[in-house]
Structure formats: structure tokens, C-alpha cells
Amino acid sequence: MERLLNIDRQWIFLVVVVVMLVGAIAQPLIPMPISSESRQLYDVVGAVPERGAVIVAMDYGPASKDELDAMSVAVLHHAFARNLRVLGICFDQQGVSNAERLIMDVAADSNRRDGDDFVFLGFQSDMTAAILGMGTSIKDVFPEVMVDGESRTTAELPVMRGLEKLEDIALSVQMTGSKDYEKWINYGNARTGLTLATGATGAIVTGLYPYLSSGQVSGLLRSTRGAADYERLVLDAHPGLERSAGRKMSVQFLAHIMLLVFIALANVGGLLGRRTAAEDDPA
């Protein structure tokens, strides 16, 4: 047992990789109930009237991509399938090109036209000032955008018809891996009454539950589990979405089991070690 407790950490890393590799290849299907907060978000997107406007803010960089891309794709797919107008934004400087690629790819798969059905508004360096500014005029904060590779005046785009400020937006869904979600709550929801929903990484999601409870956030996707839930909900109603988070959940299930085994082994080893030490030194 002592040998087990003093095992080189490299062996543990190797076991982790092998378990995950097996999970990724075998793809065991783990049936899981859909969490209430994911269903809330699905319902809130489902409640937006046809041609209503939704902001999809992909405020994350490469470090959170593996957790949040699946959420962004599922939400975009759902919005396009419901014929909603989508305004893409990214307030994370390192995530701009990824956010733009995601919205373009999903729009192309859903046969949506740039400038008519959606637009990628792009990046602004000061998130607080930008959200506050959007409270009075979206077009002033993002005066020009790229549409089909050409610079166009935002105000002239068909997708922006009737959309002056945040009050004209039916819903904003933000995907984030940082505490920036508070800026949308502080300056979007509290100031203008904008309905908010959030997809968050596991690292920050705990801090969002009080806002979900108070109704300031109307739906929440919790890390890969939330993304997998949302994928299932969207796939049931609107086929054509590729399962990405669902696949990760299969691997994560095996990782959970492995973690539990490691914790159990370490605790049993610790207890046995303590008992042996007490027997060797009764004083």
C-alpha cells in the first residue's frame, strides 16, 4: 500500500491519458437526465418570436474553446433553425477569429445569409463601455462590420432593421470562461432589463447560480454537461447538429470513475498507513 501511495506522478498521468483515450475510442453511451438549467436556456431561446433578435456573445479565448465551442455551436444552430436574427459578438481579444469562424460555419450549414439573417459585429476592447453604449445605440458601438468580406455600415444592414439598442434585443446568450459575465448582468440586465442566459466553464459556473436563482440569468449551461444537454435538446427538435459535447461527456464519465477510484485508493492507503504507524508506535 505504501508503494501505491508513493507512486510516481508520471504513472498517474499515463493512466489518465489511457483511460481518456479508451473512452474517446469506445464512446460509451451514458444516459443522463437533462439538467433543469439547460432546459431553461433552451426554453428561453425557444420563446423568442420568429425573426426576433438574439445576441450570441462568444466571450472566450483558446483556453476555454474545448468547453465552450460546443455550446456556441448548439445555441447558434438552435437560433438559426428557429429563424431568429443573430448578432455575434466577441469581447475576448484572443477569441475573435474563432467566434467569427463558428458563426460563419453554423450559418453556412443552416443556409443563413450574412447581413440578412445574421451579422458578426466583432470585437470592442472595453467591454463595459461597449455594453453601456449598446444600451443607447448598438450601431454607434459597432459602426462598421465586415459582411461577405466587405466593410459595410451596420445601420444599413437588413438584419439590423428595428434594432437600435439593447431594449430591442429579445435575448443575449453569453458563453464565457471568466467573470466577465458580471458585466452583462451589471450593465445589460440591470440597466436595460435585457434577458440574459449564460454558458460557462466549470471553473466559473458556481458563481452564476445565485444569478440564476434570482432570475437575473434566465438559463445556464454548465460546462460540457450543459453543452451535451443542449445538444440533445436541439437535436430532438432540429436535426443536423453534430454531437461534440455528448462525445466528451462519454469520456468525462470514465474520468469521473477513475477520479473516484484514485480518491478511494488514496484514502484507504492513508488510513492504513496511519493505523500501521500507530501500531509501530503505541506511545
Binding site: V16, A24, G202, A203
Partner: protein, 212 residues
């Protein structure tokens, strides 16, 4: 195996990063420096093309009007004052934009703290039992009220604690520990997801061992 140069570069750099799990080594350090360099370079270019050119340069060289020119010019000058410490004699000028930035941020944050956090969260706590029907909802509401009060008591340092208040504060510690445990658990799972992503990339996109 992938024939894309980009995938190969990304895969080799990922492996270089993972080599740190064995021990600190020059390959890891090279990859780390590349990461920092690329991230900095990308950020500088992004700021140049998406902030400096459209906001600062166009705002001064091709202004929409006198007012627009005035504000852009004023804030550009204020921003430049941040560089004043490089000339020690006028270094104190940097305090002007710093004071404005701090004042602006504090003013915004104060309103936000009251409007978006203090009042709504307080309201949610005092109305926790409102409309709570059924045992799970009542237990949920009870946990919110007991948890909030006991944690607040734990952080109350302004008066001497009686044994009863100490007991309440100890309950607060239990709530805090459960909260930290939840944060830690979510953090671990979050990191596992990142690892799964990298494994899918290495064994899927790179060597095509994982079926897509």
C-alpha cells in the same frame, strides 16, 4: 495521419507542452515562449487594426465632426500621458489618466454593485420562501436563508461573539467549505474537459485513431 502543416505544428507544440508533465525541459520552454510571443503579437495586431486604426487614427485624421474630433483627441492625449513615467521629469502626469480611469471604474462599479448585485440578491434571499411549494423547494429556500445568514455572521467582526453566534458562524464555515468544494470539483472537471479536447485533437485530428 493528418497532412495539414497547421495540424502538425499544433500537435508538436501540444506534445511539447505536455512534456512538462515529465519534467521541466528546453522543448517545453521553447513552446512556452512561442505561445507567449504569438499571443502578444496577435493582441498587438488586433488592437492596431480593430482599435487604433478605426477609433484613434480615423477619429483624428478623418473625424465625423468637431465634437467627435475633440473627444478622440482629448482621450488620445490622456492615453499618451500613461507613457509619461518614461520621462522622469514629467512622470507625475501619468496620475491624471490613472485618476480618471480609477474614478470612472469606481463610479460604474458602485452603481452596478448596488443595482445588479446587492438589491437583487438581497431580495432573492428575503423572498426565498415566496411560492416555494413542495418539500424540495422549501428545503432549497431554507438552505439559501440559513446559508446566507450563517456566512454573513462568519464574516461579521465588529462585535464580540457569544457562544450562540459562534455556533452560527461555524454553520457558515460548513456552507463555505461546501461552496469551495463545489468550485474545486467543477474546476477539476473543467480541466479534464480541456485534456479531453487535446486528446481528441492529438488522436483524432492528428493521427486519426479516434473516429470522427
Amino acid at each position: 495521419m493528418s497532412t495539414s502543416i497547421g495540424v502538425w505544428v499544433a500537435a508538436l507544440l501540444t506534445l511539447a507542452m505536455f512534456s512538462f508533465l515529465y519534467r521541466e525541459n528546453p522543448v517545453y520552454r521553447v513552446a512556452e515562449h512561442i505561445l507567449v510571443g504569438v499571443a502578444s503579437g496577435y493582441t498587438v495586431l488586433l488592437m492596431y487594426y480593430r482599435v487604433f486604426i478605426p477609433v484613434v487614427w480615423n477619429g483624428i485624421a478623418h473625424p465625423k465632426g468637431v465634437e467627435s474630433f475633440f473627444w478622440t483627441f482629448l482621450f488620445t492625449v490622456l492615453a499618451l500621458l500613461f507613457l509619461a513615467p518614461f520621462v522622469p521629469r514629467i512622470g507625475w502626469l501619468a496620475r491624471i489618466p490613472a485618476a480618471i480611469a480609477v474614478g470612472y471604474a469606481a463610479g460604474q462599479e458602485l452603481i452596478a454593485a448596488v443595482q445588479a448585485r446587492l438589491f437583487p440578491q438581497l431580495l432573492d434571499t428575503v423572498t426565498a420562501f415566496d411560492g416555494a411549494s413542495g418539500a424540495p423547494a422549501v428545503i432549497d429556500a431554507l438552505l439559501i436563508v440559513v446559508g446566507t445568514l450563517s456566512v454573513v455572521f462568519y464574516f461579521t467582526m465588529t462585535f464580540r461573539r457569544t457562544p450562540v453566534l459562534n455556533g452560527v458562524a461555524r454553520v457558515g464555515v460548513v456552507f463555505l467549505m461546501i461552496g469551495f468544494g463545489a468550485v474545486f470539483g467543477n474546476m477539476v472537471i473543467s480541466r479534464f474537459t480541456l485534456l479531453i479536447g487535446r486528446i481528441e485533437f492529438l488522436f483524432g485530428d492528428w493521427i486519426h485513431l479516434i473516429p470522427s
